[in-house]
């Protein structure tokens, strides 16, 4: 249990597909203008990620290693087509605003990277968890980014007005430059927290050593 939690957490923070591994930037930047689009994109990507991980890991023993890339592409493209058509049928508005980024999940490096690095080497259940974890990591990143951009740039959250009429939105936040600036600052912030954590860990270890030393001397 603890182990499977660790696998999911791995995708959320330690190996966050977007902020740490730096993969799949394109959809993250492009569709994070509103939280609504961001959530839609994240669910589409997670669906493809989990199912392609499961399928690839279940057929991994039958794929000759030289043929693996076309096979992966085929599997991923199939699920992307399913998502594309389902979204077109049931959520036409969302489909329209995500536009070209739905078919582009095929070449999203996150999906491909996990298929190659994880699913082709691990069993079905682990690959499933890995897909979920990576999906959640992707979802959180894109939702945080979209929240910052939508609140700053439009004064709304999920389309609801947050401020009074006197609020004048920072329009640059929903324009393309805002996406780059915000995610750059998020990356910096994450590095900052990791550096601070490491320093704290070092100090803690040092104190622990000194405590043991004094204990010995007292004895």
């Amino acid at each position: 249990m603890n182990n499977s939690f660790k696998k999911i957490f791995n995708g959320i923070w330690t190996n966050n597909p977007v902020l740490v591994v730096l993969l799949g930037f394109c959809p993250v930047l492009a569709v994070s203008t509103t939280v609504n689009n961001a959530v839609g994109m994240a669910f589409a990507a997670t669906f493809v990620l989990v199912l392609s991980n499961v399928v690839i890991s279940s057929i991994r023993k039958f794929i000759p290693s030289k043929m693996r890339i076309p096979v992966f592409v085929m599997v991923i493209a199939t699920f992307v087509t399913i998502v594309d058509l389902v979204m077109y049928g049931y959520f036409p508005q969302l489909h329209k605003s995500l536009g070209v980024f739905i078919p582009l999940i095929v070449v999203n490096c996150i999906v491909f990277g996990r298929a190659e690095a994880f699913a082709s080497k691990n069993n079905v259940f682990d690959s499933f968890l890995d897909g979920i974890g990576m999906g959640i990591g992707f979802l959180l990143t894109i939702v945080v980014l979209a929240t910052i951009r939508e609140v700053l740039g439009n004064g709304t959250f999920f389309g609801l007005k947050l401020f009074g009429s006197s609020y004048s939105p920072v329009i640059v936040a929903i324009l393309p430059p805002g996406a780059f600036l915000t995610i750059g600052l998020m990356l910096g912030g994450m590095n900052f927290i990791n550096i601070k954590n490491k320093e704290r860990e070092k100090i803690r270890q040092k104190l622990e050593k000194e405590r043991l030393k004094t204990q010995k001397e007292v004895k």
Binding site: L22, L23, G24, F25, C26, P27, L29, A30, I69, P70, V73, M74, A77, T78, V80, T81, D84, L85, G99, V100, P103, L104, V106, V107, N108, C109, F112, V172, L175, P176, P177, G178, A179, F180, L181, I183, G184, L185, L187, G188, G189, N191, F192, I195
Partner: protein
């Protein structure tokens, strides 16, 4: 003729593929540490983009549309691009070894570069004709080249800058890209669509 010119300027500068449409960011951050490699990647993208867009356009018009197989677009296009890159690589090795030396290592990278598939699909969505397709893909490729080459130049200079510890590496790179994107906003209004 005027329409072609507008398409060219629009896709090169105003809606630049990287800085305004966010396609191909992975490679943009990945291979832009040196101007030399950035130029290599840029040329390879121009070359493959024109060919891939042209072939996928012809496939869509003469195969997928008459057979009513539009829903297979994604699968067909990605295979065409992957195959095309392989063929280009093999032919280039035989016919133009010098060019292969220069572009060879970037070609496999291009298969998973979303600009190529993105432009092929956008091109179909925009209902361009043959001539417009060629102009659109060529000028988008040039736009990619401009963006990545300039960015690599800035990054080379940034090697000597004193950057705060947490922002070292990709973080400052992305913020720089944001400032470049802001600069490219100056081109908006250059032509009225």
């Amino acid at each position: 003729m005027l329409k072609l010119l507008i398409i060219a300027i629009d896709s090169m500068l105003i809606s630049n593929i990287i800085l305004m449409k966010f396609l191909g960011i992975c490679a943009y951050i990945g291979v832009s540490k040196k101007q030399e490699t950035a130029a290599g990647m840029g040329f390879a993208v121009i070359f493959v983009m024109v060919m891939a867009t042209l072939i996928s356009y012809l496939l869509q018009i003469y195969v997928l549309n008459p057979l009513k197989l539009q829903y297979l677009q994604t699968i067909v296009f990605i295979f065409v691009i992957a195959a095309l890159v392989q063929i280009v690589e093999i032919t280039m090795k035989k016919i133009a070894p010098a060019l292969f030396e220069a572009l060879g290592i970037y070609l496999p990278l291009i298969t998973t570069n979303c600009t190529i598939l993105g432009v092929a699909i956008l091109n179909i969505q925009k209902n361009y004709n043959l001539m417009e397709t060629i102009v659109f893909s060529l000028s988008t490729g040039i736009g990619y080249f401009i963006a990545i080459y300039l960015f690599a130049g800035i990054r080379e200079k940034m090697e000597w800058a004193d950057i705060p510890e947490p922002f070292k590496g990709p973080a400052i790179g992305i913020i720089t890209a944001g400032l470049m994107s802001l600069a490219f906003f100056g081109f908006t209004g250059l032509v009225k669509m």
